[in-house]
C-alpha cells in the first residue's frame, strides 16, 4: 500500500476565474508547488497546481482542468496528498515527522517503552511524544543523540536511552 502524506488542502474558490484558495501544511509553505502531482486521499484524482499569489491564510492557485468558479467551489475541502517517495532525501540525523511517527521505542535493554505518537517542537528542541503501552498517558522524549542513540527506519525501531525523570 502506498503511504500518502497530507501536505495541503483546498479551502475554496478564489475570485471568479477558476482559481482556488490553497492551504499549505509544508515546512516551507511555497514548497507545496514543488510536489507534482498532488492527489486526493485515495489517489484517484491528480492535481497539477501553480501558485499565483499569496492570499490571507494561504495561496491563490490555478489547477489544470479547473476553469470556472463552479469547478473550484466543487473542490472545497479536498485534501492534497503526496507519496512518501516524492519527498527529497535528507542528510544524516534529519528525519521527516512522517517517518518517525509510528516507530516502536525500545530501551537499551530491548524493553518496549511505547510508540511514537507525534513529533513536537515548542521552540527548544524536537520532542518525541511517546504513547505508553496499555495506557492513555504519553511521555515526551528529547530527540537528541544522547536520548535517542539509534533510529532504525528499516526495522521501524528507535533505541532510547531516556534521562531519569522522563518515564
Amino acid at each position: 500500500m502506498v503511504e500518502r502524506i497530507c501536505v495541503g488542502s483546498i479551502a475554496g474558490s478564489y475570485g471568479v476565474q477558476g482559481e482556488v484558495r490553497l492551504k499549505s501544511f509544508c515546512a516551507e509553505p511555497t514548497a507545496i508547488a514543488d510536489y507534482d502531482p498532488l492527489t486526493n486521499e485515495d489517489g484517484t484524482r491528480e492535481f497539477q497546481i501553480t501558485l499565483t499569489r499569496p492570499v490571507k491564510n494561504g495561496f491563490g492557485a490555478r489547477i489544470v482542468d479547473v476553469k470556472t468558479k463552479e469547478d473550484a467551489d466543487a473542490l472545497k475541502g479536498v485534501q492534497l496528498f503526496v507519496t512518501r517517495e516524492q519527498f527529497p532525501e535528507l542528510p544524516d540525523d534529519e528525519f521527516y515527522y512522517a517517518d518517525l511517527e509510528g516507530l516502536t521505542v525500545v530501551d537499551t535493554g530491548g524493553a518496549v517503552l511505547g510508540t511514537v505518537k507525534s513529533v513536537q517542537n515548542h521552540g527548544a528542541a524536537d520532542l518525541l511524544e511517546i504513547q505508553l503501552p496499555n495506557s492513555s498517558e504519553t511521555a515526551l522524549l528529547p530527540f537528541t543523540k544522547d536520548a535517542v542513540p539509534t533510529v532504525d527506519l528499516t526495522a521501524k525501531r528507535i533505541v532510547a536511552d531516556p534521562p531519569v525523570g522522563i518515564f
Binding site: F25, Y97, P142, F143, G165
Partner: protein, 92 residues
C-alpha cells in the same frame, strides 16, 4: 513597562538550588520545575528542565539563545498537533 534593571532577572530560589545541585552532580537528569515565570540564566545552559504545563513536565534543553526568556515560553499549555506534512526533525 519592563522590569527595573536594578532588580536583576527574576528566578524562583528553588530553581537556582535545583540547577546548582544538578550541575555539581554532573548527571543529565531532567530537573522538574513548576516555575514557568523564572528567567533562564546563563548558568542553566546545558541542563534539561522539565517545565510543568499544567499536565506534564515538558523537557526543555537549555541553549545559549534562550537566555533571558522565561521557562514557560517553551512549555505550551495548549495541545496543537497540526499536520506533519514534510516537516523535519533534526537530532542534535
Amino acid at each position: 513597562m519592563g522590569r527595573s534593571v536594578w532588580k536583576g532577572p527574576f528566578v524562583d530560589a528553588y530553581v537556582l538550588k535545583k540547577a546548582e545541585v544538578a550541575r555539581e552532580s554532573g548527571r543529565s537528569d531532567v530537573i522538574k520545575i513548576w516555575s514557568r515565570r523564572s528567567t533562564i540564566l546563563p548558568q542553566f545552559v546545558g541542563l534539561t528542565f522539565g517545565v510543568y504545563n499544567g499536565k506534564k513536565h515538558v523537557p526543555v534543553n537549555v541553549t545559549e539563545d534562550m537566555i533571558g526568556q522565561k521557562f514557560g515560553e517553551y512549555s505550551p499549555t495548549r495541545t496543537y498537533y497540526g499536520h506533519g506534512a514534510d516537516k523535519k526533525a533534526k537530532r542534535k
